[in-house]
Subunit: 368 residues, 2 copies
């Protein structure tokens, strides 16, 4: 959907003549009270559920969660998936033409924040005629957007579902992002972010970034269980510093290669920076409790015990700050082995928690 009105950004800049890609599932009811907005994390898009006709293996990234009869039941809810500004899956991003210059944005794409994304999403809802969301939901960076919605548009959110998220990044989180960014920008094929014109892609940097990401998405336990010290071939060591020797190396290289084929390097920088910047407590002298005083929604928070990227303690900070504000908050800490990735996986307890919560939302109706 095209937007001609400039969107003012947190940085002070603005972006104009941008478009947002989105998909919807289910039907908006007569009083437009059953809309659920799904916010995506780093490597995802507006395609949250279902498959594209004639395209096998085109399931949406949260297809186990969203659909007819699923925890977020599209027989009851009108679900909206939207690709964020700066992403590389359809919405306006660094690979598009800057209307101010007539040249591809590249590194000149404005730095966008979680707040900016939420503002853009709000305009999309305006265009769809949706005044209030039954729920806004997301995992990881998507959870930050859900939290941000409850702060920025308190009256437009009845429920916020924040999964495997955090009230901000800690130093270690920022550190991993920074190493990934440095790998990308120091790749000679990055050309200061204007690599499109050169007909190259900083694949070396993207591979490294993705490998680092994958390590932080998985738990120690699941890595040891899936890969351990298993060799890739046979049982004899090859004694090589550059050949693949262990299965875990093979897995990481494969993930890095795959990612470098389709993900945009400038998008990677933008999205990790949005993660770094998110910190609603910052404007309140560091007090998350004060920040969350603005919220009016009810909340569901979910965390996973082995998630060391956004550990349960980070979710509990949000829960505590909400409770201190006497907000209605449900919290589930799921004992899952899969680390941060767990929020995308099929854990029956997790899916049931979300199912039960959305059943409650459905039963409340718009008057809740």
């Amino acid at each position: 959907m095209p937007f001609s009105q400039p969107l003012p950004l947190q940085s002070g800049a603005a972006i104009r003549d941008y478009a947002l890609s989105y998909e919807t599932y289910g039907r908006l009811n007569a009083d437009k009270s059953n809309a659920v907005l799904i916010c995506h994390a780093l490597n995802a898009s507006h395609h949250v559920a279902g498959v594209y006709e004639g395209q096998p293996r085109s399931e949406g990234w949260w297809d186990n969660m969203i659909g007819p009869g699923k925890p977020v039941d599209t027989d009851r809810f009108f679900v909206i998936g939207v690709n964020n500004l700066g992403s590389c899956f359809g919405s306006t991003g660094p690979m598009h033409v800057n209307p101010d210059t007539g040249r591809v944005y590249g590194a000149d794409f404005p730095v966008v924040t979680v707040e900016d994304w939420v503002d853009a999403q709000a305009r999309l809802l305006d265009a769809l005629g949706i005044r209030q969301l039954a729920a806004v939901m997301g995992g990881s960076l998507g959870g930050m957007q859900a939290l941000c919605w409850s702060l920025r548009y308190p009256e437009r959110v009845r429920h916020a579902v924040v999964v495997a998220s955090a009230p901000n990044l800690n130093a270690e989180n920022i550190a991993f992002n920074e190493v990934a960014r440095r790998a990308i920008v120091t790749d000679p094929d990055f050309h200061g972010g204007h690599f499109y014109a050169q007909g190259v892609v900083p694949k070396r940097g993207l591979r490294i970034a993705r490998m680092i990401g994958h390590i932080t998405y998985l738990s120690d336990d699941v890595m040891n269980e899936k890969f351990g010290r298993q060799l890739r071939e046979g049982i004899d060591l090859k004694y090589s510093t550059q050949d693949v020797e262990f299965q875990i190396e093979s897995y990481l290289r494969y993930q890095g290669d795959k990612f470098s084929e389709y993900f945009d390097a400038n998008t990677y920088l933008l999205i990790t920076r949005a993660l770094d910047y998110f910190d609603p407590a910052r404007a309140h002298g560091g007090s998350l409790q004060q920040a969350l005083a603005q919220t009016q929604a009810k909340f569901l928070l979910v965390s996973f015990t082995t998630d060391w990227r956004f550990a349960p303690a980070r979710s509990r900070e949000i829960v505590q700050a909400l409770l201190d504000n006497k907000r209605a908050v449900s919290y589930a800490e799921i004992d899952a082995p899969h680390g941060h990735d767990a929020f995308l996986l099929d854990d029956a307890r997790y899916l049931n928690v979300v199912r039960a919560y959305f059943a409650r939302i459905a039963s409340e109706g718009a008057t809740a």
Copy 2:
């Protein structure tokens, strides 16, 4: 010290006409029973203690631990520091000339293992006329060498002091090594490991490798305490994906830059690979208990609660396997905030544990 006799390596290859750089501190006693060998980790050398005359800030890397009146008291012990084969601080390494070809080794330097290092160290002791060590001691990868000594030369080790170490790398440890290696070998300046002839250094890769390393050396806690979300300049955000915004970014970049100025890229590959390969249980069907049945030494193991690179649980595996073999083993788990780095830092409890242990060794004498 030069060695002309070829050293057979685990890989099946051999290395000839190599030299080992070493330093000694204190005096070897008459019956040569007071020798302590110190094994180094990734980024260290034979210069373990003291300063070089006229060179301020040239303290050895374990100067807080080793010296006159220090926990490893050089008034009582004859301490030997040795730089390992393949390192870049004096001993024969990839930047030296391969006597078989007359060209610089580069990527052709043979892959060396912890076992190979220990064998080379044993030859150095032979040359020094030392039959048996009062103790062999190391932290991290150095601890693996100490453990390996107790297995490979059981009768030559009275005590093994294994600090912040592990019986092998787990999948996550290997994964971090692999990402660092990929960053180096995919740097266009690596030239397949033969960059010396090109007059370049793969600094981009080395920087990334070091940044990743630093993240894993520090605990989450200490990172949050030292850096947190503190901005580098002032209190206003700059909204940039490439400029430094947070202190932690500045710290990591600085560490990466510094490292890339002096550390050899091929050495980085070799040493991380030696870490990957170390796994004494492997030859015993995965049983560490069976592997450690060969030991005759007494042991001190030390771990640090916030070390997530080599967590206390990894040290406890060694302790348990030793106890199962009815070996004499002391174990201290130090409640320190500094993560893996703690083994190099001044924690009074840690230093006192080592001091007390070495006092006991001294009182035992050679007959123990």
